[in-house]
Amino acid sequence: MASIFQGLGAATVLTPTNSIDSKKFHVSPRRSCSERKARFLVVRSDGSLNMRAHRANKLITNAVATKPDGSVASTSSSKPGHELLLFEALREGLEEEMDRDPSVCVMGEDVGHYGGSYKVTRGLAEKFGDLRVLDTPIAENSFTGMGIGAAMTGLRPVIEGMNMGFLLLAFNQISNNCGMLHYTSGGQFTIPVVIRGPGGVGRQLGAEHSQRLESYFQSIPGIQMVACSTPYNAKGLMKAAIRSENPVILFEHVLLYNLKERIPDEEYICNLEEAEMVRPGEHVTILTYSRMRYHVMQAAKTLVNKGYDPEVIDIRSLKPFDLHTIGNSVKKTHRVLIVEECMRTGGIGASLTAAITENFHDYLDAPILCLSSQDVPTPYAGTLEEWTVVQPAQIVTAVEQLCR
């Protein structure tokens, strides 16, 4: 199942091409790791560390940026850390937390013996046993509700939706119980669950398997939502989500599981509420998340060649928004482009647009542009599917228009 998504390396977006053909983008052959890593620049955002000293202990922002200033470029295999794929990073985070805290458990369809449909839980059932890595019958609302009941009574379940779309069947449990029960119980019961799974538009998976549920879930009070996009933040967000006392929905993208990156050997966690600076720039703020980050970075390459200097921020926290990072960027560039895979109507982009208008309207020199997926059920046919989601060429055009 997962194998069809192979071929999208993290660095493929960085290959020097002006092509905006997403087909080509999808199937571009994997390059050697060293070649890929050579083009990564690891930036530690020390600035934010200083500015938010009260959170510094939790904060190791390790943004992958592509600004070619060439100051740090290391390819040697002796570089510290280890290299892994995004799904392995998720598993590593999960395994570390299960080692650390015996109340952390996993439940979902095929998470145990099968190892998860995208192998995020591979080997965990063998290590931790069938109760801690519980294969459930196909009953989304009931096993999600069961996870919530277990969380109310002392466990910290990680609930996997085999495909995020399946969680529509658990919408009641996620909304009424996950989101509201801490409040309606007057704060007596906490629901420290993580709900996670693959979503987004894959490669011709058809309408039902290509959904972006963040738009549906965003108005549920009492839950947090994060979207991972790199092996580094996948692991860090997984660990943070498990440790959070709040219910957290962690969005993964079917096309990103095979991204490769070198991550630190030492333990780290990411901040659930914080955005990630991907590429600092001056001319325009591009806000994105999940897979669209790579479409944006591909466009950024073209834009840089055309003389633009875009700032790219992976908002990462879909609810709540990191208004500090976003605001600072808006105050610097005065122009905002939002690029999302979510639906246009009532999507994350729409909420983000509202939040920026409310908070930073005076800093804007141009109306906010928002590129979203078309409001259509994701078509099966490859050509139609490609026209449904935002492509790099559209991003280039939008920036040119914004900066005119």
Binding site: G129, A139, S142, S185
Partner: protein, 432 residues
Amino acid sequence: MSSPSAFSSLTTITCKPNHNIPSIIPSKPISTSFLGSTPKLRFSPLSTPSSTRISCLPILAVSDVVKQNQSKTSTIRPNLLITKEEGLEIYEDMVLGRSFEDMCAQMYYRGKMFGFVHLYNGQEAVSTGFIKLLKKADSVVSTYRDHVHSLSKGVPARAVMSELFGKTTGCCNGQGGSMHMFSKEHNVIGGFAFIGEGIPVATGAAFSSKYRKEVLKQTDFEDVTLAFFGDGTANNGQFFECLNMAALWNLPIVFVVENNLWAIGMSHLRATSDPQIWKKGPAFGMPGVHVDGMDVLKVREVAKEAIGRARRGEGPTLVECETYRFRGHSLADPDELRDPAEKAHYAARDPITALKKYMIENKIASEAELRAIEKKIDEVVEDSVEFADASSHPPRSQLLKNVFADPKGFGIGPDGKYRCEDPKFTEGTAHV
């Protein structure tokens, strides 16, 4: 049917039909050809005694066990089903449930409480019969008709009444209301207002019990969870899904169906292809029992065995209690569909009157003693109203409390600080 003397004979607590067709499937059909070569793949969490159950132990009908136990209990007081102490306790609990709900109706009509208020009148034998057998660490998951389950589990009447008045002293600080009663201290884990959604949560609580015993090794036994729900819920998918999971993993849970024959205006007989809900237990490999839910002593005997099974690690039980609500679905329900003759039939079988009669006839308690209990309860309920009335309404500062267990969930504001650190958040005046 004529109404038999409520407590005539214990042997009527049988699974219907009780002779020719066994009401309980003898054992899980683990060795059938359906499983082919896969029995070894069946769930066996860690090495536990319970996992061996599959191969040997037949599932006993609760009625069989009740019959066996009869001889034991009769050694102390022949033919009596309860001790005086037990009798007074359950009488008091049932009277409390009834008086409390009657008071709720009064307060509702006086404009002291609002919204949908579902009263439990008539069904007291179920709540009392089951919950009074629980330990404090055991859990109860209820529905929107949850006041009396909470009271039986030990939540003070003051806290429940105050919650209904929407006051800070309520068991959920006024944030829950009639259909969302919770008490962590008493392990009342809801209070679920949608049909069926509580059953998975109860299953999760039962899973936690098993996990605490087998993974965390914190206990030697399993705390029991009771999931209460009605006949309408027994047609909902979550009911079937959770019967399956509870039986599959042998969870310490009892599914208690309070079959009051009506889902608002939908007669159980018009909604359900086979109205005998208890039969669905054996279909999933667990005992299914039908019991007269207007008879607290019969309910209690069945409950004792079902709870005992759960605690001993013998797995879940489905109990169908045939009962009746004496009022409409909620206080907003005109209750026009139910036949007056049907109402009269069940009114004549009032579980509180029946228990009183039984205790006096059998000289378990005197009339004076029971009257003293009634008087005490009147005072408790009066006091709860006075307490609720005198309590304060939630202040503005409570508005944003408890949205998130960790208020950092409100995120980071433009100034780089967590928004919950803004004084406006503690004041409840922030815009979220």
